[in-house]
């Protein structure tokens, strides 16, 4: 319960439990002190920080074709007579692009597009879920129908159909298309939560005291759903990144701008695996897996924050 709610409750209704809210819990005992959540958030934070530092330190011109020697292995290793140097610490690929520059430019792009798509999806999902759960009736029927229909379609395939006709979709169009398949989770969770909260005492209290449905939704119910919000955001982000990478691996999307998926597609097309150039495909893969793991840890941690029963299960 938020401070605003408890203040209003305690001023209108002297409840025996109102004093309980004033006990300040130390951070160690707060539910937010969750190993998975903290680990995921800090590693992801370090990764983003590293990428930001890299952006200002490393020469991004090196991501262009032919800017570096070809097929250079990471520093200290040898590949077909060439020894890796500090000039290209992570090696280069067969068109002379520096791997470090590719990752520094590519990873934020993948992260950003996934995050943007997830934000759009979350906003739409929350609005629909709230309306369906709170208003009920016809609205609920329509929203549930839309969720049921879109939930069971593989988003990647619909996007393949759309992308094959719109090869030059920009960043925002891409994010918008990705968000078409990331709102359903939020809608379902929020609809269910709102349905169960609608009958709870403090919501009834607010309704009796004449709050508008909008106020009840966003001032009373919403603050309680923060952990669900974050958990849904991270799931949406990783789903969008994964779908985006999938399309790029298949050769769709803007192939000229370096991103992790495009680099993977180049590596696969040039059979980097067979040629033993592991750094070409393994480094983008490692960065992606790291991103996915962090996002999952944050999501699982958030679920534990929201649902105490999961904590020691």
């Amino acid at each position: 319960m938020t401070a605003a709610t408890s203040n209003r409750l305690s001023s209108t209704l002297p409840s025996p439990a109102s004093g309980y809210q004033d006990v300040k819990l130390s951070f160690k005992h707060s539910p937010w002190y969750n190993g998975k959540l903290l680990a995921g958030a800090s590693v992801l934070g370090l990764l983003v920080l590293g990428l930001l530092v890299g952006h200002s330190v490393w020469d991004q011109e090196l991501a262009y074709v032919g800017s570096s020697p070809l097929n250079l292995p990471p520093v200290g290793l040898e590949y077909k007579g060439q020894v890796g140097t500090w000039a290209h610490p992570l090696g280069t690929e067969n068109a002379g692009r520096d791997m470090l520059a590719l990752i520094i430019i590519g990873a934020p792009r993948s992260l950003l597009i996934g995050f943007t798509a997830a934000i759009i999806g979350l906003v739409v999902g929350v609005l629909l879920g709230f309306s369906a759960g709170y208003l009920g009736g016809r609205v609920d029927d329509v929203v549930r129908l839309a969720t049921d229909i879109t939930m069971n379609i593989p988003g990647l395939l619909v996007l393949i159909i759309i992308q094959s006709a719109l090869p030059r979709a920009g960043f925002f169009t891409m994010a918008l298309l990705l968000s078409l398949f990331s709102w359903q989770g939020a809608t379902r969770v929020f609809r269910a939560q709102v349905l169960s909260m609608k009958q709870s005492g403090y919501v009834l209290m607010a309704r009796l005291s004449g709050s508008s449905p909008f106020d009840i939704m966003f001032k009373e119910i919403m603050p309680n759903l923060m952990p669900y919000l974050v958990s849904n955001l991270t799931f949406g982000t990783s789903y969008s990144i994964l779908t985006m990478v999938g399309m790029e691996v298949l050769g769709l999307g803007a192939q000229r701008i370096p991103s992790l998926g495009v680099t993977l597609n180049n590596a696969i097309s040039a059979s980097a695996i067979l040629r033993g150039m592991w750094w070409w495909w393994a480094l983008p893969t490692a960065v992606l897996i790291m991103i996915f793991m962090c996002l999952l840890l944050i999501a699982v941690g958030m679920d534990e924050v929201a649902n105490p029963r999961l904590r020691d299960a």
Partner: protein, 338 residues
């Protein structure tokens, strides 16, 4: 049987039909939005390959009339829906006189084989492992592996595929690098061919399995933890039944039902992952067909193959959903539990 009400059935089938109809319409609209005139560009290309073609304008006009491209959009749309219902998707651009349907018919069995195998293994292995993890008699050292299951769930199948291909096909050479069977075996119902298919399919199946099994394990474990406090479990334990019997007759059987829903929900992700895995392993299924279509800008192949996969996913989810009330008599589907 009493659980399956007509109203639920109608709604569920209605959703299914609408899904199929909407994706077919999407393909139609997208195909019309593709810039350029396909007939014209095709004939210009032939002209470029073969030099001057006399009366090319007349040929193009004849083709347009022949394929009904001069008809109003609504007529084209109705014809298109009719064709799609009969799985007639026209001809492939890149392998011109081949109908798209023939390409799909060749690829479909391979993809279905992969998905069905993966689904079955992931359901059985995942639920068994999940049950072992949740059982209170399981030794501690086995339970200490649980967190690593979490890690598997975050590795997408396409990335797992790259890794498995490198380690087991490239470095160790235990499995072949690409394809579905070797050239020197005769396709058919003979043992060498079947063993060969298994050998070639192992890595693709494993790649899709890794992420999916993780979720099944976690789901099963969570279900069993929830069930553990139920009265009927307490009673079974109090009666002094064999603990293993209690586990699989009282707990697992009840936990399997929600797991089936989980299976239906994970299906669309599974199919999407498989498209990419087939690309990595050059496995001759629907995914590779899409990949090759994108490479050669073969729009009819890309769109028809994607549409067929959407149709397949929707059909499988429908089947699982219809199966559910038959298995669990408690569900009535007209507003909660009976």
């Amino acid at each position: 049987m009493g659980g399956l009400t007509i109203r639920y059935l109608m709604r569920r089938i209605g959703i299914y039909l609408f899904t199929v109809f909407a994706s077919a319409t999407l393909v139609f609209l997208i195909a019309r939005a593709t810039p350029g005139d396909p007939v014209e560009s095709r004939w210009r290309q032939i002209e470029m390959d073969q030099g001057q073609i006399p009366e090319i304008e007349a040929i193009i006009a004849r083709y347009k009339t022949r394929f009904g491209l001069d008809d109003p959009l609504s007529v084209q749309y109705v014809k298109y829906l009719g064709n799609t219902a009969r799985f007639d998707f026209g001809y492939s651009f890149s392998q011109f006189p081949t109908p798209v349907w023939r390409l799909i018919r060749r690829a479909l069995p391979w993809s279905l084989g992969l998905s069905v195998t993966t689904l079955l293994i992931s359901f059985f292995v995942g639920n068994t492992v999940g049950a072992i993890f949740a059982w209170e008699r399981t030794p501690r050292f086995i339970k200490s592996i649980i967190p690593s299951t979490l890690i598997f769930t975050s590795v997408p199948s396409v990335l797992a595929a790259l890794f498995l291909l490198y380690v087991f096909a490239m470095l160790l050479r235990w499995f072949p690098l690409a394809g579905a069977y070797s050239r020197d075996v005769q396709p058919g119902w003979n043992w060498p061919f079947i063993l060969d298919v298994i050998k070639y399919g192992t890595l693709p199946v494993l790649s899709i399995l890794i992420v999916n099994v993780g979720w099944t394990v976690l789901g099963m474990r969570a279900m069993l933890v929830t069930i553990a406090g139920e009265d009927y479990v307490r009673l079974a334990e109090a009666k002094g039944l064999n603990p293993f019997y209690t586990l699989y007759r009282y707990k697992v059987r009840n936990a399997l039902l929600p797991q089936l829903t989980g299976l239906a929900l994970s299906l669309s992700g599974l199919i999407a992952g498989q498209v990419l895995v087939e690309t990595i392993f050059a496995y001759p299924g629907m995914g590779l067909l899409i990949f090759q279509g994108i490479r050669s800008q073969d729009y009819p192949v890309i769109q028809a193959t994607s549409y067929m996969l959407i149709l397949l996913t929707a059909t499988s989810v429908l089947l699982i959903d219809l199966l559910y009330p038959l298995i669990d008599p408690r569900i009535t589907h007209d507003g909660g539990q009976a």
